[in-house]
Subunit: 418 residues, 2 copies
Amino acid sequence: MDVEQYMNEVGAAARQASRVVAASSTAARNAALLAARDALDGAREELAQANRQDLERGAANGLDAALMDRLELTPGRIDAMLEGLRQVAALADPVGSIDAMRRMPSGIQVGRMRVPLGVIGIIYESRPNVTVEAASLCLKSGNATILRGGSEALASNLAIARCLEQGLRAAGLPEAAVQVLQTADRAAVGRLISMPEYVDVIVPRGGKGLIERISAEAKVPVIKHLDGVCHVYIDDGADADMALDIAVNAKTQRYGTCNTMETLLVAQSMAPALLPRLAAAYAEAGVELRGCARTRELLPTALEATEQDWHAEYLAPILALRVVDGLDQAIEHIERYSSAHTESIVTADHARAMRFLREVDSSSVMVNASTRFADGFEYGLGAEIGISTDKLHARGPVGLEGLTSQKFVVLGEGQIRA
Amino acid sequence: MDVEQYMNEVGAAARQASRVVAASSTAARNAALLAARDALDGAREELAQANRQDLERGAANGLDAALMDRLELTPGRIDAMLEGLRQVAALADPVGSIDAMRRMPSGIQVGRMRVPLGVIGIIYESRPNVTVEAASLCLKSGNATILRGGSEALASNLAIARCLEQGLRAAGLPEAAVQVLQTADRAAVGRLISMPEYVDVIVPRGGKGLIERISAEAKVPVIKHLDGVCHVYIDDGADADMALDIAVNAKTQRYGTCNTMETLLVAQSMAPALLPRLAAAYAEAGVELRGCARTRELLPTALEATEQDWHAEYLAPILALRVVDGLDQAIEHIERYSSAHTESIVTADHARAMRFLREVDSSSVMVNASTRFADGFEYGLGAEIGISTDKLHARGPVGLEGLTSQKFVVLGEGQIRA
C-alpha cells in the first residue's frame, strides 16, 4: 500500500464529508448514532470473531496481561458501547447555537455561532471501545473523524467501523464522516499529524510518551492531555474530618486515573494532629507514604521522599507527603511540581480559598472537594473526549463544546462602514 | 551576545513576571498603563531622537517610502499611542470573572474562570506603535509579553520600552512583564518561537510570508492571521440599492485592509440590471474589474479574470467579479477560494440568509452588512490584537478575551467521589 496516497485519499474524503456533516441536521446525526448502535448490537458475532483474531495475534506476539485485558471486547463492554451511543445521541447539540446577539452603535447585531472544528484525527492505543466513544462525540459535534487505534486492535476496530458506516448510511450521511485507518503502518500516523489541509486538530489518547511524540512532530494543532500530578493542600484551620475524607478519597477512590491526588500538602499547624490519622487511614488502604523531613519527624515509618517523588505521577497506591508552612509555600510547591491538571484546597478561610482559586494555574482548581471530581461527567459536560492540560482552546475536561469553535455572525439591514 | 543565553534569561524573567501580573489587581495593571502613558508623554524628545536614528539608518539602507512612513513616530502617532493606553486602561478586565456556577448532582458547584494565557510573544514588522498597542492589551489581560519588532525600528522600540517599564515600576509590577528584545539578531526569533517552557503563545503580525514562516517553524501555539480573501454574494431578489451600497463600501471604503472585499459574486438573475450600475460606481472610484465570462457578456469593458484572480488578496482598487447561478454556486465558490476570513450575503430571503450563516465556514459571516465591519472595535471588543483565521482558540477579531483562557473552578463543602 502507498501510505502517502492512501492518507491523501482518506484526508480528502474526510474533508469533503466534514462539510456535509457540519451542515447536517441534529436529527440526522442522532439517527446515525442510534442506527450505529443497532448495527453493533446486530453484529455481536462478527465483533467477537474479529476481536478473537486480535487476541490470538496478541497472545502469539506475547502482549502483556494488562494490554490483553484492554484489547478484549467482552459482551459487557459491547453493552457499554451501545449505551454510550444512546447517551451521546441524547446530548444537546452544540452546533449552530448563538451565544448572544448584541446591537452595536453602527446598528449591526453581532454574536457568535458554535461551529464544528472540521476534521478531527484521533490517535489511541489498544482499547477498541475508544473507537466508538471518540467517533460518536466527534460526529455529534458535527465533525468528521479519522481514527487510528493501536495496531493490536486493527481487526476489532475495522469491524466496529463497518457498523458505524452502516449507521451513517442509514441516516443519509457520508460514510467518510468516520474512517478507521485500514493500515497498521506507522507512517500513516506521521502523515495524519502533518496534513493541515485535511485535518484540523489531533486528539491523542494514551500514554505520556505517545502524546509527547505526537505533540513534538505534529504540524496540526493538538488537544493534548499529558500527566496528572494532582495536589491537595490542607490549610491551617481546616476541618480535620473533611480534610481526612477528601485526602483519602482523592488518593484511594481509584489509583490509575489522572485526577488522582499524587502529593498531599499539609499546613504545619495541622500536621501534628492530622498526620497520624491520615497515616492510619492510608495504612488501612495499603498506600505507601513518602514524606519530607518534617513529615518523617511526625511519621517515622514513612519513607523518605526524594526530588523525584514531587514530580511523580504514581498511578499506584503511593503518596508523596509534604508539610508546608502555609498557603504561600503550598502555592509555590504546586507552581513548581504540578502538571497543571487539578489541585484542591481544604480550608475554612474564605480569603485563602479565593487566593488559591485565583493563583493556582491548573485546568481545575477546587475548594473543599476531592480532585477525583475533575471529569466531564461530574462537571455536567455529558461526556468527555479527554482532559486538556493545554491553555489554548480547551482546558480541563473536553466535552462536545471543546470539539467546536465559534464564528462571528453579523446581522445587518444594509449597514455600511462610515 | 550569546542569543540562546539571552533568550533564556528573557524567557525565565517573563515566566516569573507572568505569575505576578496574573495575580495582580485590575487597579495595579490600569495604573501601570496610565503611568506608561504619562512616561511616553514626558519622553517625546527622547522618542523623537531614537526615531530619528532609525529613520536615518533606514534612509542609509535605502528603505522604501512605505516602510519609512510606517517607521515614523510623528507627534500625531504619539498622541494616538497615549490615547490607546487610556482606552485600554478603561476597558473591563476579563481576568478572574467566572461565567456561571452550576450545581451538579454531587453537590459541587462548577464554573469557569477567565485566566491569562501566561507569556505572549509578539513578532511584528516596522511600526513602533504596535509595541505600545500589543504590550498594553497583553498587560491588561494579565499576561507578560516579549516583543520583537522589525530591526529597522529597534531604537524607537527600546525608547518606548523604557517608558513602559517606568509605568510598570510606578505601579509596583515587575518590569519583565513587558520586554522588548534588545537584539536585531534573527536567531532571537527562532528561539522565541521554540521555547514552550517560557512562552505560551505567539502572535505574529505582518505580511503573509512572515506569518507562514513562523507558523511552520513554531513549537509554541500561534494565533495567526493569514490573508483576507473576502466575498460578498448578492442573492436572487436582493434589494438592488442595498446591494450596490454594500458592494461599493466593502470594496472602496479602504483598499488595504484584510476585511476589504476582493471578489463579488452576483446571482445570475440580478446581473443584467445590477452589473451596469456596479460598473459605473466602481469606475467612478477607479476600481479595475476582472470578470468571468458571464460578467464580460454584460460588461464587455471588464478584463478577463483568471484562476489566479479568484485566489487574489489584491489590497488594491481591483475587484474580481463572478456571476453565479445562485446560492449553491456562491457557497461552492467561497468554499474553494475564500481564506475563511469574512463573507457577506445581501439577500431578502430569510431561509437563504440562515443557510449562508450556517454553511459558510469563515471567521465572520454576515447578512446585509459590509465586510468592512469585521473588526474588534465594530464588534464591541474594545480593541483588537489581530484577526484570527484559525479555528482553534480564537477565531475572528481577537480582543482581550482571546488573550485569556478559562480554567474550571469547583466549590465544594467537603464532597468526595462515590
